[in-house]
C-alpha cells in the first residue's frame, strides 16, 4: 500500500501530473476575485474565508478525474482490483495520494493567498485548520465520484455534477469555521462538525467507492 | 370566476407553471411508453415471437 502511495505521488509530480494544476487554479481564483469585487479592503476581508474555501473546493474538483482515469486506461486498475490488498484500502490510498498532491498544498498556500484578500489576523489560524481538516473529506468524496465515473469516456462533467451536492456540507462547515474564526467568534462547533464529516467520509466512502469500481469493471 | 384580488398574476402563474410541468411530464411519459411499445412490437414481429 505504501508502494502504491509512492507510485501515485511520483506519477502526480511528474510533468503533466495534477500537482501544479490545482495550485495554479487556486492562485488564479484568489487573484482574480479582487479584480471582480473591487479592491476595497473591508469587502475583501468579509468574503475572504468563503472565497478561499470555494477556490480550494474547485481546485480539488479539477484534478478528480485523474484519480482513476489513467489507471483505468493502462489497465493497472484491473490489477489493483485483483491485488491481495483489499480494494477499499487501495481506494483510501488513492484518496490519500490525491490529498497529498492537492489538499495539502492548498492548505499550505491558503494563508499566503489570504494576505492578498486581507483576511483578518485571527482568521489565518482557523483558515488553515479548517482546510487541513476539510480537504481530506473533499478528496475522499471526490474519489468516490471518480470511482462512479471510471468507465466513462467523458466523465468529467458528470463527475462534477455528482460530486458538487456531496461537497456542500463540507463547504458550509469549513467556510463557516473560517468565517467565525476571522470574525473573532468561537469556531469550535463548525470545526467539530467538519471533523465529523471528514471522519465519517473516511470511514464509509472507501467501501462505496470500492463497490462502484467493482461494478464498473465487472 | 373566482376573485383573486391583487395576487391574480401570482396565483395563476404558479398554477400555470405547475400544471404545465405536470402535463409535460405526463405527456413525455405516455409518449415514451407508446414509442417503446411500438418498437418492441415491431421487433417481436420481426423475430416471430408473440409477447
Amino acid at each position: 500500500m505504501i508502494a502504491l502511495l509512492l507510485r501515485d505521488l511520483r506519477l502526480a509530480t511528474r510533468a503533466g501530473g495534477g500537482f501544479g494544476l490545482s495550485l495554479a487554479f487556486f492562485l488564479i481564483v484568489t487573484v482574480l476575485v479582487p479584480f471582480g469585487v473591487g479592491p476595497e479592503g473591508g469587502t475583501l476581508a468579509r468574503i475572504a474565508p468563503g472565497i478561499l474555501w470555494v477556490g480550494a473546493l474547485l481546485a480539488s474538483l479539477l484534478s478528480l478525474d485523474r484519480i482513476f482515469a489513467l489507471d483505468h486506461e493502462d489497465g493497472s486498475l484491473d490489477i489493483l482490483v485483483t491485488a491481495p490488498i483489499p480494494l477499499e484500502g487501495a481506494v483510501l490510498v488513492k484518496a490519500a495520494a490525491h490529498w497529498l498532491v492537492t489538499g495539502l498544498p492548498l492548505t499550505l498556500a491558503a494563508p499566503v493567498l489570504a494576505v492578498l484578500l486581507h483576511l483578518p489576523g485571527p482568521g489565518f489560524f482557523w483558515m488553515t485548520v479548517s482546510l487541513a481538516l476539510g480537504t481530506p473529506a473533499l478528496s475522499v468524496i471526490g474519489t468516490f465520484g471518480a470511482a462512479l465515473t471510471v468507465g466513462l469516456k467523458r466523465g468529467g462533467l458528470l463527475l462534477s455534477l455528482l460530486v458538487l451536492p456531496l461537497y456542500i456540507p463540507t463547504l458550509i462547515f469549513g467556510a463557516d469555521c473560517a468565517r467565525r474564526g476571522a470574525e473573532g467568534l468561537t469556531a469550535g462547533t463548525p470545526l467539530l462538525m467538519l471533523a465529523g464529516i471528514t471522519l465519517g467520509a473516511l470511514a464509509i466512502l472507501p467501501f462505496a467507492a470500492a463497490a462502484a469500481i467493482r461494478a464498473n469493471l465487472r | 370566476m373566482v376573485e383573486l384580488g391583487k395576487y391574480a398574476g401570482t396565483v395563476l402563474g404558479a398554477y400555470g407553471v405547475a400544471l404545465g410541468l405536470i402535463l409535460g411530464l405526463v405527456w413525455l411519459t405516455l409518449w415514451q411508453g407508446k414509442r417503446m411499445r411500438r418498437r418492441l412490437e415491431a421487433t417481436e414481429r420481426e423475430l416471430g415471437i408473440d409477447g
Binding site: F144, L148, T149, G151, L152, L158, L161, L162, L164, P165, L166, I168, P169, I172, F173, D176, P190, M193, I197, I204, L205, A208, A211, A212, A215, N216, R218 | V2, E3, L4, G5, K6, Y7, A8, T10, V11, G13, A14, Y15, V17, A18, L21, I22, G24, L25, V26, L28, T29, L30, Q32, G33, M36, R37, R39, L40, T43, E44, E46, L47, I49
Partner: protein, 242 residues
C-alpha cells in the same frame, strides 16, 4: 418465454396492467377535485390573500419530491440486496417524476415568495435543501443516462442513491446551521387547534392524495416502459446473434 429471464418482470407487467387504469383514474379524479376545490372554493388568507391557494400545489409537490427520493432509496436497497430488476428500473422511473416535483415546488415557492417575502429567491434552509435535492436528482439521472450496461448502471446509481441520501440529510442539517431562515413552520401539524383551518386542510389532503396517486401512476407507466426497453435490448441482442 425464456426472454423474460426473471419471473418478476412478467408478473409485474400483468399486475400493473390490471392496477394501472384504476390508479390513473383515481389520480385524475382526486387531482381535479383537490385542485379545483383549492382554487375555486377556498377563501383568502387574511395575511397572504389569494396566494394561499398556491399551497395546494406547493406542499404536495414538495412532499412527493422527498417521497420520490425515499422510494428510490428503498428500491436501490432492494436492488443491491435482492437483485430484483424491477426494483432498479422503478428507481430509474421515479427519478424524472421526482425532479419534476422538485422543480414545481421550487417554482411555485419562488412565485409565491415574490410578493410575500419580496424576493424570488432567498437562501432559506428549506429552499436551499430543495435546490440541493434538485442537484442530487440531476446527478442521479445523468449517471443512469451515461452508463451503457444496465446492470452496472443500476449498481452505480444505487450506490450513489445511498451515499446521496446520507449527504442530503447532512446538507439539511448543515443548511439549518448555516442560515436560520424565514420559511413557514410545518404547515401540517398534528398538534390540535393551530396552523391551518379545516377549510384549507381538507382540500390540501385531497390534493396530496392526488399527487401521491399521480406519482404512483407515472412510476408504473415509466417502469413498464423501462421493462419493455430491457426486453427490446434482449431481443435485439438475440437477433444479432441468431
Amino acid at each position: 418465454m425464456s426472454i423474460w429471464e426473471y419471473a418478476n418482470p412478467k408478473k409485474f407487467m400483468q399486475t400493473s396492467a390490471w392496477v394501472l387504469p384504476w390508479v390513473t383514474g383515481l389520480a385524475f379524479v382526486t387531482l381535479v377535485l383537490g385542485l379545483t376545490w383549492g382554487f375555486f372554493f377556498t377563501g383568502d388568507d387574511y395575511r397572504q390573500g389569494s396566494t394561499v391557494k398556491i399551497i395546494f400545489i406547493h406542499v404536495p409537490a414538495a412532499l412527493m419530491a422527498i417521497n420520490a427520493w425515499l422510494m428510490m432509496l428503498v428500491c436501490s436497497l432492494i436492488w443491491l440486496i435482492r437483485r430484483h430488476h424491477v426494483s432498479a428500473l422503478a428507481a430509474k422511473a421515479a427519478a424524472p417524476v421526482g425532479v419534476t416535483m422538485t422543480l414545481i415546488a421550487l417554482f411555485t415557492g419562488a412565485i409565491w415568495g415574490q410578493p410575500m417575502w419580496g424576493t424570488w429567491w432567498a437562501w432559506d434552509p428549506r429552499l436551499t435543501s430543495f435546490l440541493i435535492l434538485f442537484l442530487f436528482y440531476l446527478g442521479y439521472i445523468a449517471l443512469w443516462e451515461a452508463i451503457e450496461d444496465p446492470d452496472t448502471a443500476a449498481d452505480l446509481t444505487s450506490v450513489l442513491c445511498l451515499v446521496g441520501s446520507v449527504f442530503a440529510l447532512l446538507s439539511r442539517y448543515a443548511v439549518n446551521f448555516w442560515n436560520q431562515g424565514l420559511h413557514q413552520g410545518a404547515s401540517l401539524s398534528l398538534a390540535p387547534g393551530e396552523r391551518m383551518a379545516m377549510t384549507f386542510k381538507l382540500p390540501l389532503y385531497v390534493a396530496m392524495t392526488g399527487f401521491v396517486l399521480l406519482f404512483v401512476a407515472l412510476v408504473l407507466i415509466r417502469t413498464r416502459t423501462e421493462i419493455r426497453a430491457r426486453r427490446l435490448r434482449a431481443l435485439e441482442a438475440r437477433g444479432r446473434m441468431g
